[in-house]
């Protein structure tokens, strides 16, 4: 082997496709299809970039895994930073969250959003952070990644789906789109692996009312006939 190559390999700067190790993603997401696609589940800690419309089930997709994390690490917090609307505590409590373990941070300035996220991540007293944010640069993501590793924390960034040319150094990238059975997901980026197919995640097990099988007769609104039927 060329000495430069072996040097780079020793420095862990070179990656070879046949050296892919099955990353131990022990954290089950609570959804069978997603677990299969991720070969286990979400990573233990890191940054997960989620591109999604608002209101299609993007938050509900994360709740089962965050709940598991909360039950595993009872003294730690889940932090919600800059949610776009008022978080409904009734829903969280009903799903099984202990509300005193939930912290909502609503900074006024854009700059403070990332600062709060970094502080929460590296504090070591948060197991998960969900961040709603618009744009991120590579350096910002790197900082967040380091902070997440330091505090053993999982950061979910939920952003609007826009075309961006730069690839962010996140642990996992997921693109979400609406689906009748639950949500349609596509893994866009994953450390040490890749897959391009999109798949449907069935959410009926948790929320039967928010999941429709393809052939149910949907009542059109507001036509009078449908209401009668």
């Amino acid at each position: 082997m060329h000495p430069t190559i072996s040097y780079l390999k020793n420095k862990n700067l070179l990656w070879q496709a046949n050296h892919t190790q099955p990353t131990a993603n022990g954290q089950h997401t609570g959804f069978k299809e997603l677990d299969n696609a991720l070969q286990g589940g979400f990573p233990e800690y890191g940054v997960i970039d989620i591109r999604s419309q608002i209101g299609i089930g993007e938050l509900r997709l994360l709740l089962p895994s965050i709940l598991t994390r909360q039950q595993d690490r009872r003294t730690e917090l889940v932090t919600l930073i800059a949610p776009p609307m008022c978080i409904n505590s009734e829903m969280l409590a009903e799903f099984g969250f202990a509300l005193d373990q939930v912290m909502v941070v609503q900074p006024l300035l854009n700059k403070q959003v990332l600062w709060s996220a970094e502080q929460s991540l590296k504090s070591g007293c948060c197991h998960s952070v969900i961040l709603w944010h618009v744009s991120l640069s590579v350096t910002q993501v790197k900082r967040l990644q380091l902070a997440a590793e330091k505090g053993h924390c999982l950061l979910f960034i939920i952003r609007q789906p826009r075309q961006e040319h730069i690839s962010l150094p996140v642990t996992l990238g997921i693109r979400l789109s609406p689906s009748k059975v639950g949500i349609r997901a596509q893994i866009t980026k994953r450390k040490g692996n890749w897959s391009n197919n999109s798949f449907d995640v069935y959410m009926g097990a948790y929320w039967p009312e928010l999941s429709q099988l393809e052939d149910t007769n949907v009542l059109a609104f507001p036509s009078r006939t449908s209401r009668a039927g």
Partner: protein, 492 residues
């Protein structure tokens, strides 16, 4: 055997033993308290190479001076004019009783850890009752060693002397005798040679005595006390009586305060927030020392930054978790300082800490593996210091059927509420105010009627539905009795 603890106050009763214990008092005289405080604040400024004096503005006399000023020939009680002629670049600072008093109080606080009976004398001296401490320390030498070590922490110049009465010790200390001895004869000899000018007698009385040829204490002591009382003022008689401990000298002892209150005067006016950090840190260090020795914690610091010709700024710094460490407070302060602007230079800082409580050990599991650097309360304090208290909240519930009323946000982390029935199928996000439904949606579930609140000002009657928009978003919508449709939440 009788034990005396240094922190316990004893009544002034005589020991039960048969021999009468010899009274010993230790007098500590701090001639340069205000100047020393300045030096301590600015350890590396050029103040050490320049002549500094403190001027008493009432008498227009110099009351404190540093070594350089002394070398230039300036002496105590010299007029400002004379002093200025002796040294052209003399730096003059007005005397402030407040600073001296505060400093003396700090010294007393620190001495209280090793000796019990301390009393203040003349704003610049401390008197310690030694004889009842000797049971604990064994002999005078080891007692003095402990006191000396405690004093060396304070970085202050002082003169000291022991005496068999408070005034005798005072007289010797003022003349810089600087000896700690319990031999009565040596002390008496030293007193006898002292000139009358150093005593606490008024200049008028001293002149009167000099006119009849009495120049030293010894000459005065040769006259019997009754004679002195007859020939001179009663003031002279009491003084001599007190010095020779023929007349009892009542003193009131110091009791340390529970709260921390410190005022520092800055040598220079500070306009820059960054520069302000250094004196603030110094205050925090002394607070840490104060709290640590008492094993206390506090949650609130109140800083008052006095601005020249402007209203002073009050800085309240809160920590959700009780803290004593200076480095932890420094982080919170720097976040708080980012938000304030100084309209005028700051010339003094005061730190008051009112409420303290006893520290209880943290309940952290040694075997839990990863140990967080911060506790959750520390994280919340950190976020609140930067973003403001309103920005950080924790969701809570109240027992109500109205969706707007159920959710509430509390600023502090609250304990779990008693459980009541929660309804499934509630959206993750609620709009602060319901909005008119603008788009075409498909109803997938419903209705669920909520008709309640007739007893107060906000009654509602609504039929809630879950609907799916054409873009695939899940909405929580309702219909009013009038037939209007509103969007109230989103199932994110």
């Amino acid at each position: 055997m009788c034990w005396h603890f240094p922190l316990a106050h004893r009544a002034r009763d005589k020991p039960l033993s048969t021999y009468i214990m010899q009274n010993i008092w230790l007098y500590l005289y701090f001639p340069n308290l205000q100047l020393d405080a300045l030096l301590q604040q600015n350890p590396d400024s050029y103040i050490h190479t320049q002549a500094y004096v403190i001027l008493d503005e009432q008498t227009n006399q110099i009351c404190q001076l540093n070594r350089i000023a002394h070398q230039a020939g300036i002496r105590l009680n010299m007029g400002l004019g004379t002093a200025a002629m002796l040294k052209a670049d003399l730096q003059v600072i007005p005397y402030q009783q407040e600073i001296t008093k505060n400093r003396l109080n700090d010294i007393a606080q620190s001495l209280y850890l090793v000796t019990s009976d301390i009393c203040f004398f003349n704003d610049n001296s401390l008197l310690l009752r030694v004889h009842n401490m000797l049971n604990l320390y064994g002999n005078l030498a080891s007692y003095w060693q402990v006191v000396q070590r405690q004093l060396s922490l304070q970085q202050v110049r002082f003169h000291y002397a022991t005496g068999h009465s408070p005034l005798a010790a005072r007289l010797l200390a003022i003349t810089a005798w600087d000896q700690v001895i319990d031999n009565l004869d040596v002390i008496k000899k030293a007193i006898q040679n002292t000139a009358l000018q150093h005593t606490d007698l008024t200049t008028k009385a001293v002149k009167k005595l000099q006119r009849v040829g009495i120049h030293t204490i010894q000459a005065l002591l040769n006259i019997p006390l009754a004679e002195i009382a007859k020939r001179f003022d009663i003031e002279v008689a009491t003084y001599i009586g007190k010095i020779t401990s023929q007349i009892n000298h009542p003193v009131s002892f110091f009791h340390p305060k529970k709260s921390f209150d410190r005022f520092i005067e800055l040598l220079y006016d500070i306009e820059n927030i960054q520069v302000l950090q250094a004196p603030l840190n110094q205050l925090l260090q002394s607070l840490e020392q104060f709290l640590k020795t008492r094993d206390l914690l506090t949650q609130t610091l109140v800083f008052t930054l006095s601005q020249r010709d402007e209203k002073s700024i009050e800085l309240n710094i809160h920590s959700q978790q009780g803290e004593y460490l200076a480095k932890y407070w420094a982080v919170l302060i720097s976040l708080k300082l980012e938000k304030i602007t100084l309209s005028a230079p700051v010339f003094a800082i005061r730190l008051i800490v009112e409420n303290t409580y006893i520290r209880t050990p943290d309940e952290t599991d040694l075997f839990a593996g990863k140990q967080g650097r911060l506790s959750r309360l520390q994280l919340i304090s950190l976020l609140q210091a930067k973003l403001g208290e309103e920005a950080v909240s924790t969701p809570t519930l109240s027992n109500d059927y109205r969706p707007e009323q159920v959710i509430q946000n509390s600023k502090r982390l609250t304990k779990a509420i008693p459980p009541f029935k929660l309804y499934a199928l509630r959206p993750s996000f609620l709009l602060t105010l319901p909005q008119r439904l603008q788009e075409k949606v498909f109803i997938t579930y419903g209705p669920e009627r909520i008709s309640t609140g007739w007893w107060d000002a906000k009654p509602i009657t609504r039929d809630y539905f879950i609907a799916r928009s054409q873009l695939g978003q899940w909405y929580w919508i309702f219909k009013t009795p009038k037939g209007d449709w509103y969007l109230h939440g989103v199932f994110s």
